[in-house]
Symmetry: C2
Subunit: 322 residues, 2 copies
């Protein structure tokens, strides 16, 4: 019998599943449509069948599975193993997901939110490898966060810690979807970066992005970064504001939990060094001078596999030493 | 032989020392001038002599001491037990304080920064009792911070976590002494609350505080709160700005480490409910509407004893179970 670890990353559209060997090497992976409308039983059955097929196709048997890990969006009672409700999966109310999976495989199941499993993946095998203290931001439609402190995922009092995208950096600033004003998410997420560009063009700012808006009816964050690379002044201004907001978050999290490394992940990091370097420049410009700070700021390296890796590794920790 | 725990709280001017019984009841306490100019050997000798006298006067013997705990201002290498340097005690460079004390008493010594020991005191015996997750702010000349997460003091990668007073809430705002702009400390500490009041009066704002400035040459934070109580409009405006800044910090720390309780300590809390209620009102007004938040915001209850209690209790944990 071998030790095989299964990582499951549940998104609104797809469920990604990875099969890892005893040394956490990725053996095989797959994904299936979430089909959340079918309800929790059908979805969990489909996940279980896919796992069995994936394991068998990789020349292992179901008995080789040592543990499983699963990441889902919140809110959930992660410590109790229960999906309370889900914005993307309305039929999932009070689903005891660890129990369901554990019964199907007879093995222990780790359960964490999607941001935390991705962070743990980068911590275990990616950009956060080798450091005990890291802060993790996902830059997508919104901004998610996670913290590894002293080698462990930081948990709060009720499974809702590290909502870092909703820390306020501009009081009385932009109205965020969450109801607060001035959240970092309302400035520096992909969607809000796009909104700021669109607003500026609509207000008459001179920019090559005007043609994009005229032709496509909208400007995306990707458009902003593309036009930044071709020297558009507005794209630079909009990117600068994004980078500055993210640098402020780096400073604030340095003062809060003192990470050794800060890792950015998510679609926006496709922008590359042009964004990363600007974040670092603002950080250096704005950070205090009481001591020389050595926090490392970098981009994630695992891409879309971070979630399955992190989930599998959290499962592994249930049965193996770190 | 009894179990006696010693707590030492080192300030720039005074060293406070407390003697606690096996159940962490305060048996006796005292304080001596720090006399930091005399250098570390003399200061440590004086502390050791004072401890012996305190213990003996309380009908215990030196052998009854089970452990000691000491809190000092940073920066220090707390985990290594070394005061690297001290702003208030320039002769204390690279002093191995845990070794020095441990050699004098033959007992284990816990070492933490002054903010952390005060936080731990409140957590163990005061306003944070009974909760595993709390955030602690000291409102004095500056703003200090500490975090208890899952029942433990949060530590970062290099003993400088939880510098919560230097989290930025108004980018490009007031110049803080630390070199950053817009730190919460530069708005809401006692000294900066006083500065904002003074600036406003000097700029011609109508206020009963003008008489204070004319007669004493300065306005203190205490003056602001006193004139708030007698209905002065400027004092209300200045206090509101302080409370709003502190409420933003409560929101940001809720989203960061998700405490069950947030405790404010320090000289400023003498203002009482008039300040506390305003902080709570801003919190309720500004917090997101994604979920109903139940974080408790309150004032510390141990006063100046928090440091010796926390230091002694951290020492106790070296030899007893929590």
């Amino acid at each position: 019998m071998s030790d095989v670890f299964i990582g499951i990353d549940v998104g609104g559209t797809f469920v990604k599943i990875g099969c890892f060997d005893s040394k956490m090497n990725l053996v095989s992976k797959t994904s299936i449509p979430t089909n959340a409308d079918m309800g929790p039983d059908a979805v969990l059955d489909a996940i279980a069948e896919t796992i069995e097929k994936l394991v068998t196709d990789s020349d292992y048997s179901k008995d080789d599975i040592a543990s499983l890990g699963i990441g889902t969006p919140g809110p959930a009672k992660y410590r109790e193993g229960i999906i309370v409700r889900s914005t993307n999966m309305p039929k999932f109310t009070n689903v005891h997901i660890t129990k369901e999976l554990s019964e199907r495989f007879g093995k222990p199941v780790a359960f964490e939110n999607d941001g935390n499993v991705a962070c743990w993946g980068e911590h275990a095998c990616g950009a956060g490898k080798g450091v005990d203290d890291m802060v993790f931001f996902t830059l997508g439609t919104g901004i998610g966060g996670a913290i590894v402190n002293q080698g462990k995922l930081l948990q709060g009092c009720a499974d809702n810690a590290t909502e870092l995208g909703h820390m306020i950096i501009y009081p009385d600033g932009r109205q965020c979807n969450c109801g607060q004003k001035g959240c970092v998410e309302a400035y520096a997420s992909a969607s809000w970066t796009a909104v700021r560009a669109t607003e500026a063009v609509e207000a008459g700012a001179s920019s090559s992005l005007k043609k994009v808006l005229d032709e496509k009816g909208r400007i995306s964050c990707k458009d902003v970064f593309e036009h930044l690379k071709t020297g558009d002044a507005l794209a630079k201004k909009i990117t600068d504001e994004t980078a500055k907001a993210l640098a402020i978050m780096c400073i604030n999290m340095l003062h809060a939990t003192e990470p050794k490394r800060i890792v950015f992940a998510g679609g926006m990091i496709a922008a590359g060094d042009i964004l990363l370097n600007r974040i670092k420049e603002y950080f250096d410009e704005m950070i205090w001078n009481l001591k020389k700070e050595t926090v490392e700021i970098c981009f994630a390296t695992l891409g879309e596999d971070a979630g399955i890796i992190g989930a599998a590794d959290l499962g592994r920790l249930l049965v193996q030493e770190k």
